[in-house]
Amino acid sequence: MNGLDCQDVVELVTSYLDDALDAQQARRVREHLAECDGCAAYLDQARATIAALSRLDPDPLDATTRAKLFAALRETPR
C-alpha cells in the first residue's frame, strides 16, 4: 500500500485516535484503513474497548466508608 503495513498500523491506532500523528503519517494511516478491512476491524475493536471502559462506573462508597469520611471532614477546620 503506502509503506505502512498492518503491523505498523496497529501500533499507531492510539496516536491516530488522539490526533497525535503528524499530517503525513495521519494521512497514510487513513489511506491504509480505507483499503484494509482487517485494520478497520481492529480500529473498531479498539474503539469498542474504549467504549466498554467508559461504561465501567466505580462502585459507590459503602455506607461505612462514606460515614467515616464525612465525619472526618466535619472535624476539619475550614
Partner: protein, 223 residues
Amino acid sequence: MGETLPVDAELVELLQARDDAAFTLVVDAWSPGMLRLARSFVSTDESAREVLQDTWIAVIAELHSFQGRSALRTWVYRILVNAAKRRAQQESRSVPWSSWAPVPAERDEPTVDPARFQGPTEDYPGHWREFPRAWPSPESEALAAEVRAVLTRALEHLPARQRMVVTLRDIEGYRSDEVCEILAISAANQRVLLHRARAALRGILEAFFTPDEAERPAKEVSR
C-alpha cells in the same frame, strides 16, 4: 449521585463560601472514582480510603488557593495522586514514581502477537493472516455486565502505571493533557502507557468475544 454538579466557576464559589450541600454533592460524585484510582497506587483498600480522606482534607485546606487554571476535578485528582504517591512511598511499594518512563519493552515490543501477521517470506509481509472479526455489540444487560467483569479483572492485572493512565483516560474520561498534568508525566509517556494498556485490554476482550480467534495464531505459527 444523580444530581448534576454546577459548572466549575459556580462550584468553586460555592465551595469557597463553605456551602455544605455543594461540598457533599462533590464528595459523593467524585469519591468513588478517586477511590478506584487511589487503589492502583497503594496496597490495601484501607490505605486507599485513607488517601481519599487525606485528599479531601487537603482540598478543604487549599481551596482558597485554587485559581481555576485547570478544571476543579483535575486539580482535586492532582492532590489525590500526590497523596497516593506519598502513601505508596511509606508502604515502599515497588513502583518507581521517580521514573515514569515506560520500560523499553513497553516502548518497543509489539502489542499484537506477531504470529497474526504474515512473515517476510509470505505474500504480504506484515499484513493480517486473518482479519480480526467484528464483535457483537453488548446489547443485552447480561452481556454488558460480563464485559464489565472481564475488564475489571483485566485492569487489576495491568502494570500499575498502565492501569493509572487507562483509568484516567478511558474510564474517568480525562483528556491526554489533563492526564499528563494529574500524573506529572510527558505526553509521549502517557501515550505509550495508554497504547499498551488499551492493546492488552482489547486482546482480553477479543479472547472473550471470539475465543477461537485468539487461539488461531498459535496453530498457524507451527505450520
